[in-house]
Symmetry: C2
Subunit: 262 residues, 2 copies
């Protein structure tokens, strides 16, 4: 089975039937994959406003309204209670368990948020000949908490989390151009160069994910990361929060290229 | 007094003191002006989601959370209860009155939405030598209800309203380029050419604003319009809704150029 050639519906069916419980990287090539955050309805307005105010870190792809489990715009035949390979459950802000479905937990009082992920712009970078070090090294992208505060909304506030990809200065210029075309999936980098200027002490010690090599002649390039809204939501200690497990995304029917504005 | 050279704070002070009660077009040149919609808190999540799902028609610039009347991000020293020259009050979906301030009406149970307006991209079009007919003819831009349905969110649904500017085909190509740089204030046009294809029967009979001349060799170019969210919200018949009167906008401290992504 060549997982890159699956249709989104085929990929979701495999996942729903628990025939695929691994990360979704490389599946259904060319289609948007999303992060998931499910929160109690009483937090929904503040969280949506937080995402609206921090669009680079929290690009909303779809919202699953109360009483539904279908991503009506992004994947009309989905069931988001079953179509992610691995979920994480947090109670009062504490991680409690991982599960392969959340049918009994996701009640009519919950609202689900699908948030864009960097897979979309990584495809565009690769097409432009820009290397992605963590793909080359077969690990997760390195992610760091920064000194860049998100814009507060209601109870939601905290630092911006960034992902980092090393490249040459020439490639960094091209990377700015390429990712500026995708403002609704993280957009342009938020920093290039000296990590200490955004509060990162040691590139070899990421807060999430894995460290990667930065070669001679390369600079680190930082993008706002979809881990930000989860990290911020956890601080609010919702009675129940459901997320995807890292790397285990929802595969939608929307094409990456649809999200380019140019 | 040259109103185009006022700072935003000076312009808001004139308006707050009721020394200026006319439309704001041409004031504080270069700064974002916004539409206003104030709704009861129980509708806030659905309305914000409606805007998020229809970003071309409903570009959110700032949200004034319950218990506040300050546009904290867009104009930190504003008082949105007084800083608009003319407000309109709707009760149960019916227009009831116009006022120059809404101090007693805007209670802690209300949430205010500031929505981008076409003044931003019109400045960019003019800088690129593209004529704006309704400015030339000294009238309001013509606006039309279309057959293009907005994406529904909760109780909010209805047709997209567009504004129209006639120009040559060559200018239309440049206009697509210029306005694509501003995805957060309506962005690229949603239609060029034959009005009947989007359900408009007669360009001379706009649903809002004034008809303008379309000269020999020109095509009509249509952009999603900020009147859309007000028209849609009215259908929901909120117990109380406060909006700006047409053309009487909130002047913010944010520069038009800050909203260009390229």
């Amino acid at each position: 089975m060549n997982i890159s050639e699956l249709t989104p519906a085929q990929a979701r069916a495999l996942i729903r039937n628990e025939e695929w419980t691994k990360p979704t990287s490389g599946m259904a090539n060319g289609y948007i994959q999303t992060n998931l955050a499910v929160l109690p309805k009483e937090l929904a307005f503040e969280f949506l406003l937080f995402c609206q105010r921090n669009p680079k870190a929290c690009p909303i792809i779809d919202v699953i309204e109360e009483g539904s489990a279908v991503a009506a715009l992004a994947a009309p035949d989905s069931n988001v209670k079953t179509d992610i390979p691995k979920y994480r459950i947090y109670r009062d802000g504490e991680f409690t368990e991982e599960r392969t479905e959340v049918k009994d937990l996701w009640t009519d009082e919950m609202v689900g948020f699908l948030i864009g992920c960097s897979f979309t712009f990584e495809e565009a970078l690769l097409k432009n000949g820009i290397p992605i070090r963590h793909i080359e090294e077969g690990c997760n992208v390195p992610m760091y908490k920064t000194s860049i505060a998100c814009t507060k909304a209601g109870r939601f506030e905290g630092p911006t989390v960034v992902s980092m990809r090393p490249m040459t200065e020439q490639q960094a210029i091209r990377a700015v151009q390429v990712t500026s075309r995708f403002p609704s999936v993280h957009g342009a980098p938020i920093h290039i160069g000296d990590p200490s200027k955004i509060g990162i002490q040691d590139l070899n010690q990421p807060d999430f994910g894995d460290a990667v090599s930065v070669n001679e002649g390369e600079v680190p390039v930082f993008w706002a990361c979809g881990v930000t809204p989860q990290a911020v939501a956890m601080q609010v200690k919702p009675s129940l929060m459901i997320t995807h497990a890292p790397g285990h995304m929802l595969i939608t029917d929307m094409k990456n290229d649809e999200f380019s504005i140019l």
